[in-house]
């Protein structure tokens, strides 16, 4: 079921969030081109969260959304780990503004019947978009709640008809030091590589993301195409994807190359397995008051009912 932007605009705001900018943008779309709304647009430009992004057409998927209130657009778009644009949380919002996300191609290769280079438009065309409000847990022990817009990765994968040999899927981020200043430093092995086991990739929770808060996803959040795997630590959610490859063996992933004893292949959120240098038992939720207590971290980030079965019989201490 697809709706026009105006209609989906009516569904969303009161259910999701009291976030004031979001609401005033909605007010603008609803026809009230008032002073307040105009100021809110001005606020966007001044604060450089990105160009006022195009609205997307989508439906809300309540079944796959958590009930918690999402973080503010500002927090989600100014507090980012995207080392391609710098290692500070505020770097991506500053350095990704001029990043060109059109034209954009995605190379599909490996163990599949259909391979080749596809334009972003080709990739996105057949997939109706949905909004899902997911928890996001960073390996650094902080968390957010984010209203993503996207479609299941599984639906995309099926189009390429992976062969019997395809046991894993590898993703790569764009390597373009001209545009991505962080790639000029050797802090990580570029390009960024991630990989999922096929059953993880096909799981209905695994999302290809193109939007945030009803609009095209800002550059600093991984435009134009990024992965979200809500039961894994955030670094598995590779951003600005240019390559998808079906493989027989798991790829060596960027963070596990950087520090194999600290970041594993699976990286499932697990309060019982600490990072060697800090505890994963609790997390600080972004956007609360200064005196908020840390929250207990949930196994598989609260998605255990849906995904724990993927790992039955595995020693999660060993396969962290």
């Amino acid at each position: 079921m697809r709706k026009s932007p105006a209609e989906s605009g009516k569904i969303v705001p009161s259910d999701i969030t009291p976030y004031e900018k979001y609401l005033s943008r909605r007010a603008l779309i609803a026809g009230g081109i008032g002073l307040a709304a105009a100021q809110s647009i001005g606020g966007f430009a001044r604060n450089a969260y990105g160009q006022p992004a195009a609205a997307l057409t989508y439906v809300r998927n309540a079944e796959f959304s958590v009930a918690e209130a999402p973080n503010s657009y500002k927090d989600i778009t100014t507090y980012n780990n995207f080392y391609e644009f710098g290692t500070d949380k505020s770097d991506p919002a500053e350095n990704a503004q001029k990043f060109r996300t059109r034209p954009w191609n995605v190379a599909v290769g490996g163990e599949a019947e259909i391979t080749g280079t596809f334009t972003l438009e080709d990739i996105l065309k057949p997939h109706p978009l949905q909004e899902r409000i997911y928890r996001l847990r960073c390996v650094e022990a902080w968390s957010m709640v984010v209203p993503w817009i996207g479609f299941p990765l599984g639906d995309l994968i099926k189009r390429f008809k992976p062969t019997q040999k395809a046991k894993f899927v590898e993703f790569k981020t764009l390597y373009d030091p001209q545009q991505m200043p962080g790639e000029r430093s050797r802090v990580l092995d570029w390009p960024y590589v991630e990989s999922l086991r096929m059953d993880e990739a096909m799981h209905p929770l695994t999302l290809m993301v193109v939007g945030l808060y009803g609009k095209v996803v800002p550059n600093q959040n991984g435009a134009p195409l990024r992965l979200i795997v809500p039961w894994k630590y955030g670094f598995k959610g590779i951003k600005s994807i240019v390559s998808i490859k079906f493989t027989e063996r798991p790829s060596r992933t960027t963070w596990s190359i950087a520090a194999p004893n600290e970041y594993g292949y699976f990286a499932n959120v697990n309060p019982a397995v600490d990072h060697p240098r800090w505890s994963q038992a609790t997390e600080r939720h972004i956007g609360g008051s200064l005196f908020d207590q840390r929250r207990p971290t949930l196994p598989f980030n609260g998605y255990a009912d849906q995904v724990a079965g993927l790992y039955s019989g595995m020693d999660l201490r060993k396969f962290f």
Partner: protein, 225 residues
């Protein structure tokens, strides 16, 4: 030199408080107190407070260690009159660092502290550095200095150990990007290296026989090469 006491010291004192005042304003902003709109500490104010206090602890340790080289280079003793203040500011910021960690980051749950100290080497060494700084802060008065005499000098050499532990704590605490800890390592290496060099020079001058012999041997080797 009344100006040092009544003009320069108060000015420097207030300047040293700026990072703390900035954090205080940011904390008021994060608590929703009106009037501090421009003072935001970002999406994760607790982390910013924790890290800023940690950084300024290291900065003040470095500044403290700069005073006697500056005296040597400029042949002005006035640098040493600021040394105690800078050292105490290092203690002030490390106390804030610990307070933010305990009260805001860990929400005052002291039960979590001990496992953190024992299980996590970077916290163990940070905590050790902090504990070693306490006796230095306590004996920072002129009175204590007089009473302890030579022992005071020996005791206060602990600052070298403390600075190493502090930088080490920073190095181990960062996730991946060590460019900033590396700067502190370089600075510290320079400051400690200078002292070793001076010590060797003065010992050679006094004519400590064994050391002189080693030096001679080394020079001979260098000449040979």
């Amino acid at each position: 030199m009344w100006q040092i006491r009544w003009v320069f010291k108060p000015i420097v004192f207030l300047a040293c408080l700026i990072p703390a005042l900035h954090l205080a304003a940011g904390a008021l902003n994060a608590s929703g107190v009106p009037g501090f709109g421009g003072m935001s500490l970002g999406a994760d104010p607790v982390k910013v407070m924790l890290h800023t206090c940690g950084r300024w602890t290291l900065n003040f340790l470095m500044i403290t260690l700069c005073m006697s080289p500056l005296r040597d280079l400029t042949r002005l003793n006035l640098w040493l009159r600021f040394r105690r203040m800078f050292g105490l500011f290092a203690f002030f910021y490390v106390s804030l660092h610990l307070t933010v960690y305990l009260l805001l980051d860990q929400s005052g749950k002291l039960g979590a502290l001990w496992p953190d100290i024992v299980k996590r080497p970077f916290i163990t060494i940070g905590m050790l550095g902090l504990l070693l700084l306490i006796p230095l802060a306590l004996t920072s008065t002129a009175k204590a200095q007089r009473r302890l005499g030579r022992k005071w000098t020996q005791l206060h050499r602990l600052i070298y150990v403390i600075a190493v532990l502090g930088v080490w704590h920073f190095w181990w605490g960062v996730k991946k990007d060590i460019s900033e800890p590396r700067l502190y390592v370089c600075g510290l290496a320079l400051l400690l290296g200078y002292r070793l060099w001076m010590r060797r020079k003065s010992l050679t001058r006094i004519g400590a026989a064994s050391l002189a012999r080693i030096s001679v041997a080394r020079f001979a080797r260098t000449d040979g090469a």
